[in-house]
Structures are given as C-alpha cells and as structure tokens.
C-alpha cells in the first residue's frame, strides 16, 4: 500500500509565512476596532494639537452602562485625564508592569483582572496586548491603544484617557502606585470592546485569557482533573502561558480559609519543594483584589515553610498583597476549575518533539438552513455545517497512544454589548467515515444513524466548548451544533492535531480531495512494516555520516547499491534526481535527510518499486503508456490524458518508455505537487506570489 503523503518542507514554510503575515486580523496586522486607526489619529492630534476624545466610547454615562452604579452615584462621576488628576506626575508605567500594580474597583470583573495578572508575567504576550511606546508625557495626545484577540481576529482598540472618577478617585481598577495608569487604561479598552464598563460585570477567567492570547485553550474541571495536572501546569509555565482559576460559585463571601467564593484568581507559579524528605507540589495564586489570601498550609504564615531548605524558603511570601502558595492537593480540593491559554500546545503532553497542526474554520447556524440542533432532532441534525477531517499517520516516534486531537468550538456574539450576547447551548459530534461512504457535499440524515466516536459532552451555554481526545488515522466528520434547532449564531471551529490533517467545510469539498489517498494498513501489514522499518533504519545507520544525516551523494549510493543492484541496463539515479527526492522529503529545508525522513522516503521508494514491477506486464523493465497509467492509478493518482502524455515525453525521453528510476522520480514529484496544491488551494485554485512559486517549485 502506498504510504501517506509526506509534507513538503517549503510548502510548510509557505503556509506558516502566510499565517504569520496573516493579512488582516493577525497579531502583527490587527484589524482596526470600529475602524479607528491609531496611527492616523495620533498624527492628527499631534498636528492639530488636540487632545483625543473618543466619540465611539464617549466619556459619559453610556460608556459606564446601566445597572452598575446607582443614579445618585452616577450623577457624581467625572471623567478626568491622568494628566489632570496628577499633573507632572502621571505615568503610563512606573518601573515595570507587575501584577501588584492594581486592585479591583467597583465592577465585578475579577475574571478580567485575574487575566491581567497572568499577563504581567509574560512580556512577549504583554507586548502584543499593550503596544510599546505609549506615554503620558512624550508625544502625549490623550490617545492610547491596546490589542485583543476577539473571536478569531486580533483587534487594535483605540481609547481616550478620560477615566471615570468620583471625588477625583478612580472608581474602577486602581493602581496601587497612585500615579500609574496602564491598568486603568487597559481596563477601559476592554470595557470598550465589551460595550461598556457594566458589560464587564461577571465573567469566566477563560474568556479574557483567550482574548489576551488567541492561543490554545484548555479548561480543566478540578474535580475530574487529569492525574498529571501539576505536570501540565509546570510544562505550560515554561512557555508563553496564561493560567487562571475560579473558586466555587458564590457571592464573593470569604471562607474561613481565606478563599473568596465566586471569584477568579491568577495562577502565577508552579513549583516543587522538599518538605523534610517529602516532595510537595505547590501552586502560587494571586487574588486580583490585592488582598484576601489563603491562610492554610503553605500560606504566608504557615509553619510548613520551616520544613524546607533555605533555597526553597526564598519562595515564601510575606506581604499581604493577594498572592499566596498552597499545595496542589489543597488547590484541587478548594478550587472549582482552571484554564490554561498557551501559544504553544506542547504543554498538553510531556514530549515536545512533535509538531502540532492547527486549523480553523468559520461557520454559521442559520435558521431554516444550517441550524439543525443536536442529535435529539434527527430530521434536521444533518443540516448543521459539516466538516470533513482526514487524519494522516503520525510519525511513530511521536505516538505514545495519548490524546492527539483538541477540538474547540467558539460561538460569536451577535451584539456589541457583552451582557446582551445570548449564548446558545453548543457542542459538537465526531463521526468516523468508512471508506465506502466517502462522498462530496453534505451527508444526509441516514449517515447519522451511527453513534459518534466522540462528543464534546453536555451542551453548554458558554462562549466556548472544547475537548481533548484521541483519534486514529482515518476520515471523520465533525458536526458542530446548537442544542435546540433554529438558533442563529456564527462560530469558529478549531482543530489542533499532532498528526498532519486536512479539513474542509462541506461546501468546499471537491474531487481533488481524493487525489492523494490514504489507505489503511492492515494488522498483519503493521507487523511486516515494523520489520521493514528496522531494515531501513539499519540502512540509514550504515550510510549516514557522523552528523547522522544522509545527503544526495549518499542517497545515490544507497539507491544504486540497494535498489538497482543486479539490474541490467540501469541508467541509474542522477545526482539531480537524488537532490530532488531529498528536497521533497526533508521538512526543514536543510538539503539533507534525518533518520525519520529517510525511513519515510525509503518506504515510499520501495512501495513505488513494487508497483512498477507489478505493472510491468511485458516484463521488459520499462513501462509503456498504458502501463504507466495503471501504475499511477495504483498509487492513488489520476491524470488527464494530456498530462499523462507529457509525462511519458518528459520522463521517458526518446524511447517514450519509463524506467524504474524515471517512474520513482515522476510519482514522487507528482505526489509532492498534488499535495502542495491541496494544502494551499482555496476554492479550487492556488494563488502564489513569485517568491512562493519559485521557492516551492525550485526546491523539489
């Protein structure tokens, strides 16, 4: 059976570059929130010597919002710039940004401030959210901007610096350093995207963590947490990560142990100490109130700190600033849930050698069209958007039998004001698609008589649901839905996978999807394959140099001595052909093959060799036009007649017959080009700029 397609190194680079350049909505090229251009406004205010006033988030009652303050209190609100509150003393940042810079104000937005606390630990993430170069002194115009990831896109949000005060005291988030204003301004910007300050009241910490990162989000219910959650948190803390947690539901009453109910906390550190001879896993938490700490084991005054050595005791906290340690055991017992948002998915499991593939799709549930509701509505469930997913074989060194797929479903709000957004119950189902049921377009209701292989669990009226699970290589269908039919909403479906994947929305599938087939390996085939792999690894060790790589000259030697040995009239593989095979097989564009790359390449070469000999019906050592056509179909490739004729001329030369060497080069290149087209195509076409075109085609 032909092996799965190997991704092309240059193609991967093109894909990554496109994601990084991103066009509009990337973190380096954010969209303008409400179409306000910070640079334009800054230049305009400097030239006209005006102080910026934001007409889209005006300094009046509308921006505070209803229901937050009593009318008599609201009447006393004054909007004052920091430069007026503290003339000559106001600063954007005093010293550096820190989680101890602020304390929560009148809004119940601890979920937001806990996320800000997490952000202060991560300078790279912080710089994305709080762009550099802003000041209350130099080039001051009263204009500031911040950036947030909102429902799949980064936005640059512009604000003026008029802040709501009563008796010249900030009524919302306060700086502990009286003249520092970045927390209050950041809060104002987020209030703007939420619609008003009142719209920031009550939320989940995960919401802001995701809006600050756009990264991989994992939610953990601490009552059913994985046994290695501490290790997960520890690994995450080695990357650019934001972690927050929530205490059990309540109205912010304080428990005897110091924990506040219905409150959000930041996870600020994960550390292990030796208590006497016993290792103890600790977590450090921060209460965005800036006070009210846990008073149990390992807290600021806990005698347990006397049982550790001097090095570990340096971790001890003595200030009543809202930050405290507790053991992992107490953490699991005391808190309800936690969230991790990380730019790098490696925290999900211990081994970091593997690369994750990330895909996102936008979709809509439209009443009467694609709002089919959950599986409780069998007549309409099939009308939901359907996403076809192919999961390819994973490199064996990466596969430890753990979960390999993280699916996330986010519903977008239909209102600007966060409080008015109506969250439907949402979830998704994953179905296995048997090979004989492969089809174009949408599956009908009869397909859904089967049981899903995975579901997201109970439907939740939340902004986001996600699930981390295992899927074997094969084809699947993901169906996101609302709980009830005929609910209107847009959504983002994201899939993160350790395997290489292809995913397409039901309206985008075309015949080309099946051009490069994955054919499953039978159980007995697996055993044979493992034996073959051992031989191939031996071959690699035999021919690789001291750097454990194989270059084109070595590959040529391997091919001549192990593939063509004993064959008469063999033209041999040219050096250029060997370079081409390497270019099509090496992921990192180094021009050389590592062990796993070589194993894959050799597997493909031997497979194509076997196909060649099977198709050479006249046994003359070459393929005719008809034989070539049959052989290509065996590899899963279909070509129209013109291209087929061209291949015979191009690879057959004067004799118009294809040698083994020509066949192997032809099929590898054809697979490579078809794969590139498939990965980069949109609406059945591929668009490339000149460097992309030259890079992809020259390096192959």
């Amino acid at each position: 059976m032909p092996p799965p397609v190997v991704p092309h190194g240059m193609c991967l680079k093109v894909m990554n570059d496109r994601n990084m350049k991103g066009g509009m909505g990337s973190d380096t090229n954010p969209l303008k929130f409400m179409d306000q251009d910070y640079n334009f406004l800054q230049d305009y205010c400097l030239k006209t010597r005006q102080r910026f006033v934001d007409e889209f988030f005006p300094p009046d009652l509308r921006s505070i919002g209803e229901g937050l303050l009593k009318p008599e209190v609201m009447a006393r609100v004054e909007w004052i710039r920091p430069t007026k509150l503290y003339p000559e003393a106001a600063e954007f940042v005093v010293d550096t940004v820190s989680r101890f810079d602020y304390a929560q104000g009148f809004i119940g937005n601890c979920w937001f401030l806990a996320s800000v606390g997490a952000l202060t630990f991560q300078s790279k993430l912080l710089q994305k959210v709080v762009p550099d170069g802003q000041s209350l002194r130099h080039n001051y115009t009263g204009l500031f901007h911040f950036r947030f990831w909102r429902f799949g896109k980064w936005f640059d949000v512009v604000i003026d610096d008029k802040l709501p005060t009563i008796n010249r005291q900030l009524i919302f988030v306060k700086s502990k350093t009286y003249n520092e204003f970045w927390p209050a301004l950041l809060e104002k910007a987020y209030a703007k995207v939420c619609g008003s300050y009142a719209d920031m009241h009550t939320g989940r910490v995960s919401e802001a963590l995701l809006d600050f990162t756009g990264g991989v989000h994992m939610h953990y219910d601490l009552k059913t947490a994985p046994t290695d959650l501490w290790e997960i948190m520890y690994r995450a803390s080695q990357s650019e990560v934001l972690m927050g947690c929530e205490s059990p539901a309540g109205n912010e009453e304080r428990l005897p142990n110091g924990i506040v109910l219905g409150h959000a906390y930041t996870v600020t550190k994960v550390y292990q100490v030796m208590s006497g001879r016993n290792p103890v896993q600790l977590v450090r938490l921060f209460n965005p109130w800036g006070d009210s700490e846990w008073n149990g084991d390992w807290s600021d005054n806990s005698p347990l700190w006397n049982t550790v050595d001097d090095e570990d005791r340096k971790q001890l906290l003595v200030s009543d600033n809202g930050e405290f340690w507790m053991s992992m055991k107490d953490f699991l017992r005391t808190f309800d849930n936690m969230d991790i948002c990380c730019n790098c998915p490696d925290f999900l499991e211990g081994k970091s050698a593997c690369k994750w593939t990330s895909k996102s799709h936008n979709g809509s549930w439209v009443p009467g069209s694609t709002a089919g509701g959950c599986m409780n509505h069998p007549d309409t469930f099939c009308t939901n958007p359907q996403f076809w997913l192919r999961i390819n074989e994973m490199d064996k060194t990466c596969d430890q039998g753990q979960n390999n797929v993280l699916v996330s479903l986010i519903q977008k709000p239909d209102k600007r004001n966060r409080r008015l957004a109506q969250h439907h119950g949402i979830g998704f189902c994953v179905f296995a698609v048997p090979p004989e049921m492969r089809s174009e377009g949408k599956f009908r209701s009869s397909f859904f008589n089967r049981k899903p292989v995975v579901t997201s669990g109970n439907f939740q009226d939340a902004r986001q649901v996600m699930k981390f699970f295992r899927l074997e290589p094969g084809e699947y269908l993901i169906v996101p839905s609302t709980y009830l039919p005929n609910k209107n909403a847009d959504f983002i479906l994201s899939i993160l996978c350790k395997n290489d994947i292809q995913i397409q929305k039901d309206t985008e599938r075309t015949e080309k999807d099946f051009l490069v087939d994955l054919i499953g390996v039978s159980e007995s085939g697996c055993t044979e394959k493992e034996d073959e792999e051992s031989k191939t690894k031996f071959l690699f060790r035999q021919y690789s140099d001291q750097y454990k790589v194989v270059d084109a000259e070595k590959l040529q030697q391997i091919l001549h001595e192990n593939l063509l040995r004993g064959r008469k009239n063999a033209e041999g593989f040219g050096l250029d052909s060997c370079r081409s095979m390497i270019a099509m097989s090496d992921f990192c564009v180094t021009g050389r093959l590592q062990g796993s790359e070589f194993v894959r390449l050799w597997d493909r070469i031997t497979t194509y060799r076997d196909i060649f000999y099977n198709m050479d019906s006249s046994k003359d050592g070459v393929l005719s036009l008809n034989e070539l056509q049959n052989a290509l179909e065996k590899t899963g490739l279909h070509l129209n007649e013109d291209i087929l004729n061209l291949m015979v001329v191009r690879y057959g030369g004067a004799s118009e017959q294809i040698s083994l060497e020509g066949f192997i080069c032809l099929v590898m290149r054809l697979n490579c080009m078809a794969s590139i087209f498939q990965k980069l195509c949109e609406n059945g076409k591929i668009s490339l700029d000149e460097s992309e075109w030259i890079g992809l085609t020259m390096y192959s």
Binding site: M10, K13, D17, K512, D551, A552, E553, E571, G574, L575, D576, S577, R579, S580, A583, V589, T590, G591, L639, N640, D642, I643, L646, M647, V649, R650, G653, A654, L666, R669, L670, M673, A674, F677, C681, G684, K685, I686, S687, L688, D689, E690, S691, E692, W693, I694, G695, T697, M698, Y699, S700
Partner: protein, 190 residues
C-alpha cells in the same frame, strides 16, 4: 513587479536546411551530425551534441536531466524535442550563462560558492525572498559548492518558472493563480 527577460521570442522558424544561409551557420554542423533526417533532437541527442561540441569546455559535461530541462524550457510545440532554431536560441542562452559562471568562478575550480550564486541570481534580475533563495542554493549545491552543470540546471528552471509565473500574472500584481490541472502541468513539465 519588474520583470527582466532574455530578449524577444525567436522569429518564426524556417525549414531546416531549406535556406542556403542557414547551412553556413557554424552551429548547423553540430546540429545535423546528431539530428539526422528528422531535424529534431531529443534530450539524449542534445546531451551528445553539447558534449561533442565541447560546450562545457573545462567543466563537466551536462547530465541527461539538465538536457531534458533545456528542451522543456524552449520546447513550444510540446513535442519534447528541439529544432535548429530552438537549438540556436539555447546555444546563445547557454553561452551567456557560461560567461556569467566563468566571471564568478575566477579560479577555474569548476564551482562557485553559495554567496556567489546568490549574487549571480540577483544580478540576473530575479527578486526572490531570502527564504526562496536559500532553498534554491540548498537544492543545487553539493558539499556547499555549485557546479556549472547545476548552475545551468538552476538557470533553466528559473527561466522557465518565471516565464510561467509571468504568463499567469497578466495584471502584474505579483500573484499567479492556477487551477489544478494547470498547476500539475506547469510543475511537472520542468
């Protein structure tokens, strides 16, 4: 985008051997010695022709794959063989590349280094990203060196691919779009 080409397309071909003037072209002898009666040469014949003409001089003769690329570059009737006028155009282009290569390979070692290759490609008017340039050099170097044969193979492909790109970027916006069959046809023919 600013494209630089290599002169105008050749004039419409006449009939081989049909004009007395053509028979006096010094290249014609090399061509007819190989092409024989049909007036067309295949990749194998082109390789023999260039070797016999000692085109590479002190450099290693062209390998068969490079000769196939040469035919592909200039073959406009998709016959995958070459007539005399195409041969003349090829000879002129090859001479230009050879002079260029020799000007870089000052010590006549037969190879150039990646930096020199980078400069050579840039000086021919190609504006490629550093990433694309780097991948090309990795693709065409052995032990960090580029031979004349590889240099020519690289130039042939660059010229063919640039021609393909330009034809699909009619508005000169810097983007070419391909349907599937067209993409496979273009990428598999060189």
């Amino acid at each position: 985008m600013n494209y630089q080409g290599y002169g105008a397309p050749p004039a419409a071909g006449g009939y081989p051997g049909g004009f007395p003037g053509q028979q006096q072209d010094p290249l014609y002898g090399y061509f007819t010695a190989i092409a024989g009666q049909d007036g067309q040469i295949s990749a194998e014949e082109l390789q023999a022709c260039l070797t016999q003409a000692n085109f590479s001089g002190g450099y290693r003769p062209f390998n068969l794959e490079t000769c196939r690329l040469m035919i592909s570059m200039l073959d406009r009737d998709m016959s995958y063989s070459m007539g005399f006028n195409e041969f003349k155009e090829l000879w002129a282009v090859l001479n230009g590349w050879k002079q260029h290569f020799m000007s870089i390979d000052r010590d006549m070692s037969g190879t150039v280094d990646p930096q020199e290759m980078n400069q050579a490609i840039s000086s021919m008017g190609y504006r490629l990203s550093p990433q694309a340039m780097n991948s090309i050099i990795k693709r065409y170097s052995s032990q960090g060196k580029i031979t004349f044969d590889d240099y020519v193979a690289c130039c042939v492909k660059l010229r063919s691919l640039t021609d393909v790109f330009r034809k699909r970027d009619q508005a000169q916006q810097g983007m070419a779009t391909f349907q599937y069959d067209d993409f496979i046809h273009c990428t598999m023919s060189i």
